[in-house]
Amino acid sequence: METEVITEDIINLVIARLKTIPENARLSVGNSEQMQVADIIDQVRNQTEIGKQVIETQLFFLRSLSNLPS
């Protein structure tokens, strides 16, 4: 995973996007159990390994917007 400075703006952007996900969705990533959106948001806020993974996934998507399949 790329190492980059995670600013407060990036964290807020990622959290805003996560808040649009249905509450009954669960994410499996890494070796963790399935997580609720609220738990994922906590992980992002606290910048845990999983939180950083979620941030990286969101940023990867945003950077890829110009190359999306259509």
Binding site: M1, R17, T20, I21, P22, N24, A25, R26, L27, S28, V29, G30, N31, E33, Q34, Q36, Q53, T57, Q58, F60, F61, S64, L68, P69, S70
Partner: protein, 207 residues
């Protein structure tokens, strides 16, 4: 083809992989292929090594938790480790549906003579729906993730090469992503993790 599949089922993640890998076992049997199904508690290092030594399947599909240098089975027991027993993958075509094993274990297995290795060089992610855990095959959130990764196994079972199987999977990823990006599509948020998995799916092979 002689196929070996590991599919433990000891937590919520492996619960999903267990059922979706079961479709590959069914498909292979339907095609008349020989299949060793190391399901649930059978997904142990001892059984794996024993089957590889005595029966010599040529294609291995692993499902479970992983890390850059290992793949695990039942109760997260290490089945194959980069600096341990990776030589048992010699002459095999390998697909690991797990986190990160494409980072170190993949290249090491090729060094030890594996014919090909398909896996992920970053954490593999998928979404599920809370009320669908009893029927993982019908989970609308999990389906795009496990259909795209299952395509690798389906293509291998059809006799395609590892590179073709990888390409077939990427094609299904692109189709799913395009479908989810349509203006009337539900669950567009799935696209992010799908793109992540697609980008980090690696196919390594002997030169």
């Amino acid at each position: 083809m002689y196929l070996l599949v590991t599919r433990p089922k000891h937590d919520s993640v492996t619960h999903y992989l267990y059922y979706w890998a079961g479709l590959l076992v069914d498909e292979a049997k339907k095609k008349g292929l020989r299949v060793i199904d190391l399901e649930k508690t059978k997904a142990t290092k001892k059984k794996l090594e024993s089957y590889l030594k005595k029966q010599q399947p040529d294609t291995l599909i692993f499902n479970g938790h992983g890390s850059p240098d290992c793949i695990t089975g039942h109760n997260n027991e290490t089945l194959i480790e980069a600096n341990g027993n990776a030589e048992i993958l010699k002459d095999k075509v390998v697909y690991m549906r797990s986190c990160e094993s494409g980072k170190v274990l993949g290249p090491i297995s090729i060094k030890h003579g594996a014919k090909a290795f398909i896996g992920y060089d970053e954490p593999y992610q998928f979404w599920t729906q809370e009320d669908a855990i009893r029927e993982p095959l019908k989970d609308p959130l999990a389906k795009p993730f496990l259909t795209t990764s299952n395509q690798i196994g389906i293509s291998l079972i059809k006799g395609k090469t590892p590179k073709e199987a990888h390409a077939d999977s990427v094609a299904v990823y692109k189709k799913e992503i395009a479908r989810l990006l349509q203006s009337d599509a539900e669950n567009t948020f799935l696209v992010m993790a799908l793109m992540w998995n697609m980008q980090h799916q690696v196919c390594l092979a002997q030169k």
